[in-house]
Symmetry: C2
Subunit: 158 residues, 2 copies
């Protein structure tokens, strides 16, 4: 068990491209209830099950367990809420931190999010110039929300 | 991953008592959605996370993962739906099968259920004489249902 403390941003420009190679992530949810999110993920060739509690500020209790790849695939395809979340993740070191840029595909194509994980809520972080508006508190950008309200639908509504 | 095939019965009399020693089970749910049940359990000193798909007849896809005891306790107390399900489980061999008698306590006190796990849906099973009415198809007796509709409430409604 750990606490997840992360800040989340939109991207301001494409300057991050070419700084890292992406890994394909497929993930889905057994529960999208904010108080007890249960996520199944395949990242590259690794399967995992993650449980997250309620977010308080930027801090969230998180439990992660590695599970066999074939079982993760069955859980994603047969038990998880559809559609799945699919994205390429790029890990980019900047200053003292590792940044993760998620480039969504499928139902969320067009969406790009940069995340940075912190060890304390008030930890200072040097922002890369390709990072734009902060959306840490905007629940629409939570992956669990993107299942029921995928990004593609936002533009047609707006 | 395995398939769970089980039949479930009420008890007809107390003849099973004294045939086994009980183990305390504490369990709770992160999801009670029938298509994707997520259960946290502490059985004696062992913690586990179990995911179950939709029941078709008596057959159900089941994934079980052992997790650290302290994490299971945190998940039960802080993230799972309340109230938790608490029961003593007695494992009693009879004929070719192992029977499990669950004696519920707490919010479900008074409820007793006997279960037998099978390797095929049409497998014949010798019923002990202390086994009564079959309730395999009655969803009220599913542990996930007993969270939102505990047994103690049944009698006051009836």
């Amino acid at each position: 068990m750990s606490f997840e403390i992360e800040r989340k941003f939109l991207l301001s420009h494409d300057g991050w491209r070419g700084l890292a190679t992406g890994t394909l992530y497929r993930q889905g949810f057994l529960s999208t209830d904010k108080e007890r999110v249960v996520r199944v993920r395949i990242a590259g060739d690794r399967g995992s099950l993650t449980i997250k509690g309620l977010t308080r500020g930027a801090k969230r209790r998180e439990f992660e367990y590695e599970i066999p790849l074939d079982e993760a695939a069955l859980l994603l395809d047969e038990l998880c809420h559809q559609p799945l979340i699919e994205k390429h993740r790029y890990c980019i070191p900047h200053g003292q931190h590792m940044w993760e840029v998620d480039e969504f595909i499928g139902e969320n194509a067009g969406l790009l999010i940069a995340e940075v994980e912190l060890s304390a809520e008030d930890e200072s972080v040097e922002l890369p110039d390709w990072v734009g508006q902060e959306v840490t508190e905007d629940h629409r950008y939570a992956n669990a929300s993107l299942v029921s309200n995928p990004y593609r639908r936002w533009s047609t509504e707006g």
